[in-house]
Amino acid sequence: MGVVALAVGVSFPMGCAAAAQGAMDVQDATGGSHGNVTLAAQDQDSVAEPGRSAELGLHFVLEKGWHIYWVNPGDSGEPPKVKWTVPEGYSVGEIDWPTPERLGRGTVVDYGYTGEVTLLAKLNVPDTAKAGSKAFAVADVNWLVCSEICLPEKSALRIELPVESKARRNPEEATLFARARARLPMPALKVWDAEALDQGGDYLLRLLTGVQETSATFFPLRSGEIENSAPQKVLKFTGGMRITLVKAANTTASSNAGKPNDGHAKGTIDGVVKFGSGKSYKVSARIRSALPAN
């Protein structure tokens, strides 16, 4: 189990009716068939500091050749879905999605993760939480794991976290969480000008970073805006990055998987840009027509 020594909970292959048991007993995660997931807390021993938030991590270890999906899975697949159950007054925030990889080939291209990945989410502890009481978080996780074929997996994970007036960091989990945070896209700097020039058949995404970027990949946050499988052409540009993104065939913006592509309501192209250096940033580029106004 290695680095996730303090992760609590056990994952069950789909169809197993058992619920997760076992408070603080540290168990190996028995996996789905092609990977497993464990739930970890950064402040394992005393996470629940009243009025603060504590970081939780769903740590996936995937079999070689298998992958799971980003929040926008691309052309196929589905992102992991988590239903949290926490005590009254507590809440869990949205998942912070690490920068994905471009997966697949040919005309079907997806966005996801291989190897190991940790999905971080914040457990918000109410002011009224009493030191000495116990908090817990249960994560009902459904995910799709694919190689050539896809398999749905699910797992019920539970972690218990005593409330203390001052949280103690759990050194054994520090590495896991530090590594997870290092894989999150950073917010784009305010001074960077981000613009998506609408050129008819494609967008020219331009990011003024001040440094010439020779290689970059863009991951669209929403489906239905750009053609995932189209090559992204990085154009030479001394002031930063210019990359062409071919518009989706049915060129309308959409929100979620399986939901209607219901028009370009947003006025921006949002996503993550990963540079050749390995650094990645969240970008929201306002769409501007490249055609001259008259």
């Binding site: 196929s76 005309t107 694919c146 239905g224 309308t252 592509n261």
Partner: protein, 205 residues
């Protein structure tokens, strides 16, 4: 140096051109590209022969959990039965390449259709992925609806619950059912383009 730059630019242009040829896709409101496919009974079907009728194309892979969701629950068969009774042509298209999940011989497909009580007009075997690539099919299931004039009026998911769990079906909005209901009543299709969900189509590499 200049030559090298030109070569790089040309390579980029070629890459985009090759991609554009490989992935044609369809657009809602545009004519559905014509094709001829052979079904599991050895019969040829030309799309344009069905002009004058509504046609549903259903991308299929019997091993894909998302396809299984709609077949093991009987949801897909119910749709096939209901709409074929109203004169709609239903073509199941299998674009899995040999050796890939979902690839079937004609006999295997006929066994499957019988076992599942599936009643498409025909199940087209497209192991070279020609029809799939022509339509830009990405997932199984992916659904396309074509009107009697041969125009694409729906392209996308089967419904609005992108899970492999059959328990979600009763609370789902079925886009194909909705599109056909509206179109047969002479109304425009409200949700004409959605993101298809499911497994990737298992094309040849």
């Amino acid at each position: 140096m200049k030559n090298l730059k030109n070569v790089i630019v040309l390579a980029g242009v070629l890459l985009v051109a090759v991609w554009a040829m490989a992935s044609q896709g369809v657009q809602v409101g545009q004519p559905a590209p014509d094709f001829t496919g052979h079904d599991s009974m050895g019969q040829a079907h030309r799309l344009s022969d069905y002009r004058g009728k509504f046609v549903v194309l259903e991308w299929h892979n019997q091993g894909c959990p998302f396809t299984r969701k709609h077949y093991e629950s009987g949801n897909m068969q119910k749709l096939q039965k209901e709409w074929r009774a109203k004169g709609v042509i239903w073509l199941t298209v299998i674009s899995s390449a040999p050796g890939k999940q979902g690839f079937v011989t004609p006999a295997q497909e006929n066994d499957y259709l019988a076992k599942m009580n599936a009643v498409p007009t025909a199940a087209l075997l497209d192991p070279a992925g020609v029809i799939g690539q022509l339509y830009g099919a990405k997932t199984t299931p992916q659904m396309v609806v074509i009107n009697p004039e041969g125009v694409v009026i729906y392209d996308g998911a089967i419904d609005d619950h992108s899970t492999p769990d059959a328990a979600d079906i009763p609370s789902s909005k079925n886009y194909v059912d909705a599109a056909l209901t509206e179109a047969l009543a002479g109304k425009p299709v409200s949700d004409a383009n959605t993101r298809p969900y499911g497994c990737s189509v298992k094309y040849a590499e």
